[in-house]
């Protein structure tokens, strides 16, 4: 995630390509609730499908083994040792099948979870970045907005946000400039003696307050 605080120190987007931000493993779970919910749903669903179909495979295989066992029993008759020696192999194959299926299931769940965390991160990342800008806007700070990383999702949403942010900022800059111009004009008028009586000091006071307000606004827009 690029650092939005950088926006405050650089009012204008720096020229040239932005340094590539390196994704950190620890930052992959930005919105745990959203990401883990999706990961859990897909993983549990896959686990249920794999489990049910795996059980069907095992059941079929076990039936086949039982059938062979009973045939052998009939052929060999009372010589149980021969039957055991042959059917023992089949049973161990059944067990190996179960181990293979369990290993495949665990592998699938791990790979799916990792892949989903990465995929959901591409949604949670832009949301996280936008949230930081929202909090800055809440404080009245309207610094420059940097673009998303390549590969992030919600590009369209972020573009809309950026357009809004830029429009609000442009309007605020224009308003500040207009107020500053009005302030200067009113001060000039006062110097030329356009103002009279007790209200003179009151207007001066208000104009000073307006100037302070504009200084503060300029800081917010930086």
């Amino acid at each position: 995630m690029s650092d939005p605080t950088a926006a405050t120190s650089t009012p204008v987007a720096p020229a040239g390509p932005r340094p590539k931000y390196k994704r950190k493993l620890s930052n992959y779970l930005l919105d745990k609730k959203l990401q883990l919910r999706y990961v859990l749903v897909v993983t549990i669903l896959s686990g249920i499908i794999a489990g049910a179909l795996g059980y069907m495979i095992y059941d079929q295989r076990h039936q086949s083994t039982a059938s062979i066992e009973s045939d052998l029993q009939r052929l060999v008759g009372a010589d149980a040792k021969d039957v055991e020696s042959i059917t023992g192999d089949y049973q161990s194959q059944d067990r190996i099948l179960v181990y293979k299926m369990v290993a495949a299931g665990i592998g699938l769940v791990v790979i799916l979870s990792l892949y989903l965390v990465i995929m959901t991160h591409k949604v949670a990342g832009p949301l996280f970045k936008t949230s930081i800008y929202f909090e800055r806007m809440a404080e009245g700070k309207l610094g420059a907005v940097t673009p998303l990383r390549q590969g992030d999702m919600l590009q369209e949403f972020y573009a809309n946000f950026k357009e809004m942010h830029d429009a609000v900022r442009a309007r605020a800059v224009a308003d500040a400039a207009a107020m500053h111009a009005a302030l200067q004009a009113l001060r000039d008028s006062r110097n030329h003696g356009d103002y009279r009586g007790e209200t003179h000091s009151k207007l001066t006071e208000e104009l000073d307050l307006l100037e302070e307000h504009l200084v503060q606004r300029k800081q917010q827009l930086a």
Partner: protein, 278 residues
């Protein structure tokens, strides 16, 4: 009871796909993964089911049934030929024998006449071999066993078909179910984003309307709270401008500078800002 800021929005299935790109991407991914998984395991199940059915059918075919005892066919047999002998000659009386002795003649033997023409050939007799007492039961046992085996083989085939149908049916059901579930799930994320986008468009045009709450069940509640804070921050900026402008305009008017061109500009700005936060 509706809280202030709540507005009753009714979900409509027509609006489920708000953000097609995001929603379809996630849903297709989920459906694709499940489809691949089901197809792979389904093929595995088919192979094992084919093998099991084959083994079981072979086993059933190999099961011996009690045999029907063999009975010989009826046959004909000729009885031994019978010869018809003429009636026995009359016994020689004592007087004639004594006369023969006196004459020196040999005693007379009884004369037997055999007439072959008169032999009668016997007719063949049909001999039916005896049927064992258990024959009926053996036949019933044999055919019962054969029919049971045939039924068992049919059952195995039917079971195999059932497994395949269940497999295909569950795959279709899961695919459709997952697609619907995926779209509904992503809609709960796409919905708030869509709503925020509407407000962003208004804010871009300088309209800072009241922000309403999300619907029940929507995701991204925290994200929406951040947006509401941002909206409130911009409203606060505008209100602070409004307060300052009002104060300056009032002071200027009091000082007799109400007709100043700059004050007229500030009034226009004030009107615009007041309208934006209405």
């Amino acid at each position: 009871m509706t809280k202030p800021g709540d507005r009753a929005y009714k979900r409509s299935w027509k609006n489920l796909l708000i953000n097609k790109r995001y929603q379809l991407r996630f849903t297709l991914f989920m459906v694709g993964i499940a489809g691949l998984l089901m197809a792979g395991l389904g093929i595995w199940i088919k192979i094992v089911a084919d093998e099991t059915t084959k083994v079981s059918k072979t086993s059933k075919r190999g099961e011996p049934c009690p045999k029907i005892p063999v009975i010989e066919a009826p046959y004909e047999e000729l009885p031994p030929p019978t010869m018809k002998l003429p009636d026995a000659p009359p016994p020689i009386d004592a007087g004639s024998a004594a006369a023969d002795a006196r004459t020196g003649d040999r005693p007379r033997r009884p004369k037997i006449d055999v007439t072959l023409d008169a032999m009668e050939l016997p007719k063949p007799i049909l001999i039916v071999p005896p049927i064992p007492v258990t024959f009926k039961g053996d036949v019933v046992d044999h055919w019962t066993c054969e029919l049971l085996n045939a039924a068992a083989i049919e059952r195995l085939d039917a079971g195999h078909l059932r497994i395949m149908l269940v497999l295909v049916g569950s795959m279709l059901l899961l695919t459709v179910g997952l697609a619907v579930f995926g779209i509904k799930m992503t809609h709960k994320v796409a919905g708030p984003l869509f709503k925020v986008q509407l407000y962003l468009a208004k804010m871009k045009e300088g309209r800072l309307d009241k922000v309403y709450n999300l619907r029940k069940g929507d995701q991204l509640v925290e994200f929406y709270d951040h947006f509401k804070h941002a909206h409130a921050g911009i409203v606060a900026l505008e209100k602070s401008d409004i307060d300052r402008l009002k104060a300056v305009i009032a002071a200027a008017e009091a000082a007799g500078a109400g007709e100043h061109a700059s004050i007229a500009e500030l009034r226009a700005m004030l009107a615009r800002k007041e309208k934006s936060v209405e």
